[in-house]
């Protein structure tokens, strides 16, 4: 049997078995769950080779699933992060309600994402896309009735996106008579201008929703923050990357092929930039870790979108590199939040503080992820950001680079807030009982954060598959041999070797840590955080020394005018207006039978008049 098909059968069968296994035994269910995520993932990498394909014909439509390098690149995110999150999830979900639903949707999400990556035709792409949407939607509302509106908001936006995509798909079909992606790519340059514009616009709308691009991002904070954290790491880490995946394909294979593509690139790049700024500003404002990370995801996706939209090879590399890195660090960070939530029961910065000594490993993972997120060398975020700036500057996006830079500077604010809010600050008595999260939760986080470190220091490891992926999309590799040494070429023809500098940083850092910090740490004695010089006085036992309310008050006084305009409000008003309209519409059905009869007569009369008018 075809290995491509096998993987899906395993996923699907596993999902169903897991769903019902809960009736028999919870442990069995967990094991089945793990197996049905890990085994197909294992098979994916061992049994599938590039170019392997499966073709079916359904309803006269040719469906083609096959693996190419670009899909393989994203499969690293999906299956890698998925596997980690699955291990994490088993421990995280212990003792929760509706385990079957959770596991089922988790597996389906992973399956659908794998499917998206394998789909070489628009229909199966769309099918998997929708499975992904509804399985993630079911996760969004997993936590009960408070989140109904959030879930529906998510699904409505997703549906708008998906349906836009569907419209593009049928457009393609009406022109090419086929649903295969390669047919679209071949036919695209010779299409009419109208189609050349509409198809990418509609496709991009669909992808932009999942990638939480600016005017369509409003679902993201709610949805990310309300799903179970074990899933959110996949949700934000991998699922949003499917939007990126689609956007990349659209940009590389369609938009860049036509002269009008420049407009798309500019508009989307700017939208990405604005997304980054808005996401960052709102992230800073949040007092809840989940929300903060959710907005941060929006912002980070903004960078990625910008990178992809710019469309130079370096920019694409940057975007894709950031995409992988974002999957890693945001996946880890959501796991961290999950761990904190599991151990303390809350994720609010104003409630939790000073967990560093209670949960050191979690803190370690959080620290590395935050450093990567902030884009500070030597962790992975920097390489991506650096390439992004290089590509922006060399492709003459001067103002955009300022916007992006501002947002990434402002990102330090929430980065610090995250670390400080949970782990630093006063060690409150209330949390003295808190222990480190279970090993099954800690290990994935630590593995992921070490991965970030490795990829940041040796970016070549990741850059070469990205390069392969881009080649699969039709990019000719202009500097093939440079990858081994992580040399990067910018738009002005300058060669850059990043790696040595990263080694130096690590070396110097280790020097100071070993010779200064650790030595000093050993020679000193730990005192509690109450034992401080508070303006020269010794604070009383009950004095509140936790600083967490209005954390960045001065900053918000400065940016207030920007924050006042909310896109959410616009959508809310729109929604309310529509509901009022619908309410009015349904009043047509007055409930009086005679009125209905009058409608009938009126219909006949109008039709008669109209018909006679047509005859004359």
């Amino acid at each position: 049997m075809n290995p491509v098909l096998n993987i899906f059968i395993l996923f699907l069968g596993g999902a169903i078995l897991t769903y019902f296994a809960g009736r028999i035994n919870k442990v069995l269910q967990s094991l089945l769950f793990l197996a049905s995520v890990l085994v197909p993932a294992f098979l994916f990498y061992t049994q599938l080779s590039i170019g392997q394909s499966a073709t079916f014909s359904v309803d006269g439509i040719t469906l083609n699933w096959s693996l190419n390098y670009f899909g393989w690149l994203f499969s690293l995110i999906v299956l890698g992060l998925g596997a980690m999150a699955a291990i994490y999830a088993v421990s995280y979900m212990k003792g929760k309600q509706r385990l079957g639903t959770f596991y089922f949707n988790f597996i389906l999400s992973i399956m659908s994402m794998t499917g998206i990556l394998l789909s070489q035709d628009l229909i199966s792409f769309f099918i998997f896309w929708e499975i992904m949407t509804w399985s993630s939607y079911l996760m969004t509302i997993y936590n009960g009735n408070k989140v109904q509106s959030i879930g529906i908001k998510y699904f409505v936006f997703s549906a708008i996106g998906a349906y836009a995509m569907l419209m593009a798909i049928v457009m393609v079909h009406s022109i090419t008579g086929s649903f295969l992606i390669k047919d679209l790519i071949n036919a695209y340059p010779t299409m009419q201008l109208g189609m050349q514009i509409w198809i990418p616009v509609l496709l991009l709308t669909g992808f932009a929703v999942k990638a939480a691009m600016m005017p369509l991002h409003v679902w993201a904070p709610g949805a990310y923050s309300n799903s179970p954290m074990a899933y959110t790491s996949v949700f934000s880490g991998a699922l949003s990357k499917m939007g990126v995946y689609g956007m990349t394909i659209v940009f590389v294979t369609l938009i860049n092929k036509i002269p009008q593509g420049i407009w798309f690139r500019e508009v989307i790049a700017w939208m990405g930039g604005i997304t980054a700024v808005i996401g960052t500003l709102w992230a800073i404002k949040q007092d809840d870790a989940k929300k903060l990370l959710a907005y941060s995801s929006v912002a980070q996706l903004g960078y990625i979108i910008t990178g992809i939209a710019i469309g130079t090879e370096l920019a694409l590399l940057a975007g894709l590199f950031l995409a992988v890195m974002h999957a890693l660090f945001k996946g880890t960070l959501f796991m961290v939040v999950g761990a904190v939530e599991k151990q303390t029961g809350t994720t609010n910065f104003t409630e939790v503080s000073g967990l560093i000594r209670k949960m050191p490993w979690t803190f370690f993972a959080a620290l590395l992820s935050i450093i990567a997120l902030a884009g500070i060398p030597p962790l992975g975020g920097f390489v991506g950001k650096w390439m992004l700036y290089e590509s922006l500057i060399t492709s003459n996006h001067y103002l955009l680079v300022i916007v992006i830079f501002f947002s990434s500077t402002a990102a330090f604010l929430y980065c610090y807030k995250f670390l400080f809010g949970f782990f630093l600050g006063q060690e409150e008595k209330e949390w003295s009982h808190v222990k480190e999260a279970p090993a099954a939760m800690v290990v994935p986080m630590v593995i992921l954060s070490l991965l970030m470190f490795v990829l940041g220091t040796f970016p070549g490891i990741l850059l070469s598959p990205i390069n392969n992926g881009l080649q699969a999309l039709g990019y000719t590799d202009s500097y093939k041999n440079l990858w081994e040494t992580s040399v990067i070429l910018n738009g002005w023809g300058n060669h850059v070797v990043l790696q040595p500098i990263l080694y130096y940083i690590i070396a110097i850092f280790l020097f100071f840590v070993v010779f200064l910090t650790l030595k000093g740490y050993k020679n000193t004695r730990y005192v509690t955080t109450k034992d401080i010089s508070s303006s020269g006085e010794i604070p009383k036992e009950d004095e509140n020394l936790t600083f967490s309310e209005n954390f960045y008050q001065p900053f918000f006084r400065a940016v207030e005018p920007v924050m006042r305009r909310q896109i959410d409000k616009f959508y809310k008003n729109l929604g309310e207006g529509l509901e009022a309209l619908f309410e009015f519409m349904r009043r047509i059905y007055t409930g009086n039978g005679q009125t209905y009869a009058i409608y009938v007569i009126a219909f006949v009369v109008i039709m008669l008049l109209f018909g006679n008018y047509l005859l004359k």
Binding site: I598, I601, A602, V604, V605, L608, L609, N612
Partner: protein, 238 residues
Amino acid sequence: MKKLLVIVLLAVLGFYTASTFFDIGFGSPHFVKGIDPVKDIYINQTVKSLNVPNAVTSIVVNFRGFDTLGEVTVLFLAVTVLGSVLYKKRHEVGERSVLFSASSVVTSGAKLIFPAIILLGAYVFIHGHLSPGGGFQGGVIIATGFLLMLLSYESYSVSHKALSIVESLAGITFAGVGLLGLLHGGSFLHNFLPTGVMNSLFSGGIIPIIYIAVGFKVAAELTGVIYTVLNEKGEGNE
């Protein structure tokens, strides 16, 4: 306002309908030129194939007998639906209520006329294929007989069970004859019996059989309708 709207709408509707039919014309063949309408075939075949003088009957029972089967079913269904709509749990069923008793003229007259009405009805449906009238008309006449009795005598009652049996048997006859036609002649309602001598009682093949069944059925059903509605306990006359 609503009234005015309705009047305007109805005026327009009436104008169009009326002008359409005025245009079609009254009293002369109105078919478009160059076609031969089915009615000519019906009239010719009535005599030729069916050996029946009454063209309407031949259409109702044979040419378009399927419609009639449906029609009978509609009636049957109406009774069923009536029973369902006015269904009451057993303990809710009360006595039939009457505003005032019929006078003795009515009661004794009814008793006298009743057999005559039944007879007339039977005559009408038995001779349905020969003369004007038929199963429906005869059935209705019989039902009026029962109506008269029901109105005259407070205590007069019709057995639901009997009505139901008659109704069912008649219906089964109709459908059964049709199916026999399918068996014998290859098509449903096929006239598989010999058509006999024109203008005699036993002619026309299955037509009289069906019409008799229809007569019984209509009689039973209409009586059933009347009886069911009459049994409804009025609330204005406690």
